[in-house]
Symmetry: D2
Subunit: 161 residues, 4 copies
């Protein structure tokens, strides 16, 4: 079992640049998180985008789709901004024979308090344990693509009917 | 889906007491970890032991067994010291119709660098995603009870043949 | 000896708001830092501004000046954005009979890696140990007002001739 | 101005070894703390002991004394276990023409919550700002050697009079 981890940007990878007092997307934090988690699970990390998910275009989503399709691995984790994560999940739904799990974070992984580490843990396990399909894991829950939305007011993911 | 989380002690919950210059097992950290992970998954935390796993007796393991059996939930996470985690996993194997996932940590959750948060993430997802059975998740991997050992020299879990 | 700690904003107090994907100045972190530092030194925290230091106006600086002058304490710490910290320090130079120490941070105190805690430690000690005057402490160094600049290229403070 | 930093062990440098479930003194953390604090102050770190301060013998204290005396620098920071820090401070009191500041931590620097970073900040500034003499900085306060004790019940340092 080898895991393919595709990173696309989002809050999870944000860094703060003092010079500009701005907040940009830096290198993927998933590698640091796996190191700290003492992960020995075989994996490849592939960084294909560094964007806020609100800025993702149809072309970007096609890029993600193509990367998943081209991956030789059957178990895929995708780190992604939270705002349009459900849209990307839907886009990937036509891919069969792979277990694809999207996750991200509400607070940057570089923060002292962050949901990033817990979420990556959830995604790494879910990508191994779940049957083929497309899923989102956030807030310690597992959602199927097409049956989940981000509740902006409450700042959390929830199932749709 | 409600998760039952049973805590038994181990490195994950260790605290350092300066007064005694010693290192003892404190309150379960899993609640803090779930808070920081913004977990909204329904769960109950039940602390039944605060012991290093090398100190667990047959009676202690029976206590864990009974707690799992008595739990109304079908999805169980157990936090446990790493040294004898495979033994406790085996002991639970006769329980059917529940997904039971054991995890712990090599470094205390109160440390700045720790595998505890990642491991709890893995366990929470695995307990929801896996079919009924008894499992260990450590190092980002999922192992079946009876097919895993802790490699003391390398300080990690690995599959046995 | 009682310390007056005046907070004005700056990177040290920045928080990240996911909803807006922006980065704003939150509540002063100095209280958390003193708690974690187990500080028993008597002190009062006074938040008078929440601004990036590049946005500070002459009126803002007058506000800071007035707050220092009005403080009954002789030992003053000011947390401040780094970009114009030397300008504010100069402005305060006409205040005699008080030891005034400005500090801030290159990375937000809410980050996992940050110079904020170390800098607050330096400022708290310097405000007690130095004779009356106006100082900046950054990078573990003590600078007198009027003899220090922020080197933007190197991202650190240095003495001017 | 160059700082000499002498490390002797104590809680500040403790690490946790899972294999033995014990808690030993590791490599000095002061270097990491100065890195994270973006310290550019010139300094040399010298590790001479790795002991709990309750285990320090007269010979050990002589070793510390000799190291301070032999140091070419006039500004000295010593990291030290807290329990007998006041005794070592007294021992050094006959050294004139140097500013010597002892500090340590109630919680290991490797912990997520620790007073170590704040304390090192205090010590680095105090060693530069104070006149020649021997001092302890803990809890954000500055104490003169001979006028300070550790209050074991309250877990903090306080002035004796």
């Amino acid at each position: 079992m080898t895991l393919r981890i595709i990173t696309t940007g989002g809050t999870i990878d944000k860094v703060y640049f003092d010079a500009k007092s701005s907040y940009e997307i830096g290198d993927p934090m998933v590698t640091d998180i796996l190191d700290e988690g003492l992960a020995t699970v075989l994996h490849t990390v592939q960084s294909i985008l560094k964007k806020d998910s609100l800025e993702l275009t149809d072309e970007d989503r096609q890029l993600i789709y193509d990367a998943v399709l081209a991956a030789p691995e059957r178990h895929i984790v995708i780190t992604h901004g939270t705002d349009t994560m459900p849209i990307t999940a839907l886009k990937l739904k036509s891919i069969v024979d792979k277990t694809i799990v999207l996750t991200g974070a509400m607070a940057p992984a570089r923060f002292r308090r962050t949901d990033a580490i817990f979420n990556i843990g959830c995604a790494v396990a879910a990508a191994q344990a779940l049957p083929a399909g497309v899923y989102i894991t956030m807030n310690g829950r597992l959602f199927e693509a097409g049956k989940v939305r981000k509740n902006l007011d409450l700042g959390r993911f929830e199932a749709t009917e």
